[in-house]
């Protein structure tokens, strides 16, 4: 029994930690303030192979695994959640469906660009009318000759409007099943296909340097061969993608929770009040100790889910626990970290203020925390 990282993972962790410290941290506040997408950082992360971590070398991947991706995401999020979610969404939501469900031709066409980070993929599931209830999708696709014709809209789609966005996978209603329910399928829509409109970027509470748009489909035509996986498997596909994605989001949340600890430990020595370091006040020291407990247990939870996934064992419940616990840790740590920083904690230029604004989405995205509780309860047979 050993839950510590093997040397490949810990070496990767150290490299990403150094990169985040040297390259991302110095520009994080500026990108946040200006809402600017970090193209330069994406390029460098591509060169380091971060976008190819869980993919085989046949398609330009690094020959690693999904857990390696999680380790990298945690380290990125310790410094900048916008960068971390850009990688998470590009790899786990953008490239992974093609890797898992794509035909040989689709993989050859898209994966080398996606795994090298020169192109970003987006995942279009959520609609204005429903995210949790994804089965209620209203976007439709029907065949006309050898083309799919897509109509409808998608909301909150990460990486869907950058200058290097290459595709969005869209879940759409493609018919009615024998039992009368909707037949849902996934279709690859290349960026800039006529009829696809990318709305202006949302004004978000956080994740300012990450790219999020609504998408509108008005008679968008793509080749029949752009169907991803089997017809009617759309719902099952996205459930599989989101099960894994939860571990990655848990890793991201763990990174944010840990980033709060890092910042507070430093500040507890720097800041003086009443003639002593604020860390000497038990109120502050205990807050930071509790924050460390949350970050640590969040990490253990996602390591556990990750190790089960790698072993090919069921991990649904553990992934839900990890996502629920880690996002909770992130939100609580961010709230406390801003408290430790006092007034400075309310200034966007300080990392903890960004952490605070970035944390809330973690209780919402890739399955709300209510959904996680539902999954856990269901798995317990309740």
């Amino acid at each position: 029994m050993d839950h510590r990282l093997s040397s490949e993972y810990s070496d990767l962790r150290a490299v990403v930690e150094q990169f985040a410290h040297d390259v991302i941290a110095p520009v994080a506040a500026e990108n946040y303030e200006n809402h600017s997408f970090p193209y330069d950082i994406v390029k460098q992360m591509g060169e380091m192979g971060l976008f190819g971590l869980p993919f085989s070398e046949d398609f330009g991947g690094m020959g690693g695994d999904y857990f390696a991706l999680c380790i990298a995401i945690e380290e990125l999020a310790r410094v900048d959640s916008s960068v971390a979610i850009t990688v998470e969404a590009a790899v786990s939501l953008g490239a992974m469906p093609i890797y898992l469900f794509g035909t040989e031709d689709q993989k050859r066409e898209w994966l080398p660009k996606l795994t090298s980070g020169t192109m970003l993929g987006a995942f279009g599931l959520t609609e204005p009318g429903g995210g949790t209830d994804a089965g209620a999708a209203r976007t439709t696709a029907h065949l006309e000759g050898d083309e799919w014709v897509i109509n409808g809209s998608k909301s909150f789609i990460t990486n869907s409007g950058t200058a290097i966005t290459g595709l969005v996978t869209v879940m759409a209603v493609t018919g009615t099943k024998d039992d009368g329910s909707k037949e849902l399928s996934t279709i690859i829509v290349p960026a800039h296909t006529p009829g696809l409109t990318v709305a202006p970027a949302y004004s978000k509470v956080g994740w300012n340097a990450s790219d999020t748009h609504a998408l509108f489909f008005d008679n968008v035509r793509v080749p029949r061969a752009n169907l991803l996986g089997e017809l009617g498997r759309g719902y099952a596909q996205f459930l599989q993608i989101l099960d894994e994605g939860r571990i990655a989001i848990a890793a991201l949340a763990t990174g944010l929770a840990q980033g709060c600890v890092d910042e507070c430990v430093r500040y507890s020595h720097e800041r003086q009040a009443f003639g002593q370091e604020i860390g000497k006040f038990q109120a502050i020291a205990f807050m930071i100790a509790d924050m460390e407990v949350r970050a640590h247990t969040a990490r253990l939870a996602y390591y556990d889910a990750g190790s089960r996934m790698l072993a090919g064992e069921p991990f649904k419940r553990q992934a839900a626990i990890a996502k629920l616990h880690a996002s909770d840790a992130a939100v609580t740590n961010a709230r406390w970290a801003t408290q430790v920083f006092g007034g400075y904690g309310y200034m966007n230029e300080y990392a903890v203020a960004r952490f605070w604004r970035d944390s809330k989405i973690l209780e919402i995205g890739e399955g709300t925390n209510e959904v996680q509780r539902m999954l856990i309860a269901r798995d317990l047979g309740i």
């Binding site: 490949e8 070496d11 490299v15 150094q18 380091m48 192979g49 020959g63």
Partner: protein, 259 residues
């Protein structure tokens, strides 16, 4: 082109370093060990030269057991093989002893180019590259901010206070590099995995052809006689500006003979 890069494991630049009271040596347990920053530039330069001219890059490091992590980091950046000189006798070695051991290992292996970082962040003496070149009888192209390889001719721009000198020599040569020279790459995960399978030779002081008695604390020409923690910062003087702040500050500076 056969290239050697000499690297050192140093305590993390950001960590607080401590000396051991017993022998005044660095307490290496007190801080995480990392690849000396300037040595990363040396590795990068070697890899660039290899990419342009072919050949093989070998990493050479003298240091305790765990210095192998540092060699592995350089291998994960893309170097081909490692040589680790590890021996209890080496503890406390000074620059002279270090250069003797490195020269002993490097001398008969046919390297065309031996690259160093120009200083380590812990000792900061900048003398080892010069000492090694002297011991090997090779030209020293130190403090390079640019290296050009043209057949057997190596030309560097040596960084100076006012600009640079152009210095040229025929290989084999010893080069040391400064920070300006390049931007070291970050290892990829593929590189990290590959590093585990790359050949790593482990040598003793005897293998380097150096007598154990001539290295280590006992043989060191320079020793730390004594050390003390930096005194805590004295409390400052607060001047409340009630109209005469400028005068008060000037008086303070005059009292302390600053103006």
């Amino acid at each position: 082109m056969k290239i050697a890069v000499c690297v050192k494991q140093v305590p993390d630049t950001w960590a607080e370093k401590r000396l051991r009271p017993a022998d005044s040596l660095l307490d290496r347990e007190s801080a995480e060990g990392v690849l000396n920053e300037l040595d990363e530039y040396a590795v990068e330069e070697a890899l660039k030269i290899q990419e342009a001219h072919g050949g093989e890059v070998t990493i050479v490091s003298m240091g305790p057991e765990r210095a192998v992590e540092t060699i592995r980091k350089a291998l994960s950046m893309g170097a081909d093989a490692g040589i680790h000189i590890v021996d209890d006798a080496l503890s406390g070695s000074d620059a002279l002893a270090t250069s003797a051991v490195l020269a002993g290992v490097l001398k008969d292996r046919g390297f065309d180019l031996i690259i160093f970082g120009s200083e380590s962040t812990d000792a900061r003496m900048s003398v080892v590259p010069a000492m090694v070149s002297e011991r090997l009888g090779l030209p020293q192209l130190t403090f390079a901010q640019k290296v050009d390889v043209n057949g057997g001719t190596i030309t560097i721009e040596r960084q100076t206070d006012y600009g640079f000198d152009s210095v040229e020599a025929s290989s084999p040569v010893v080069v040391s590099v400064v920070e300006k020279i390049n931007e070291p790459r970050y290892p990829s995960f593929k590189g990290i995995m590959a590093a585990k399978k790359k050949p790593l030779e482990t040598l003793s002081v005897a293998d380097a052809g150096v007598a154990a008695g001539s290295v280590g604390t006992g043989a060191a020409w320079s020793v730390v006689a004594d050390f003390a923690a930096r005194p805590p910062k004295a409390a400052g003087t607060i001047v409340n500006d009630e109209g005469a702040g400028g005068v008060k500050i000037a008086e303070f500076l005059a009292t302390n003979k600053i103006i």
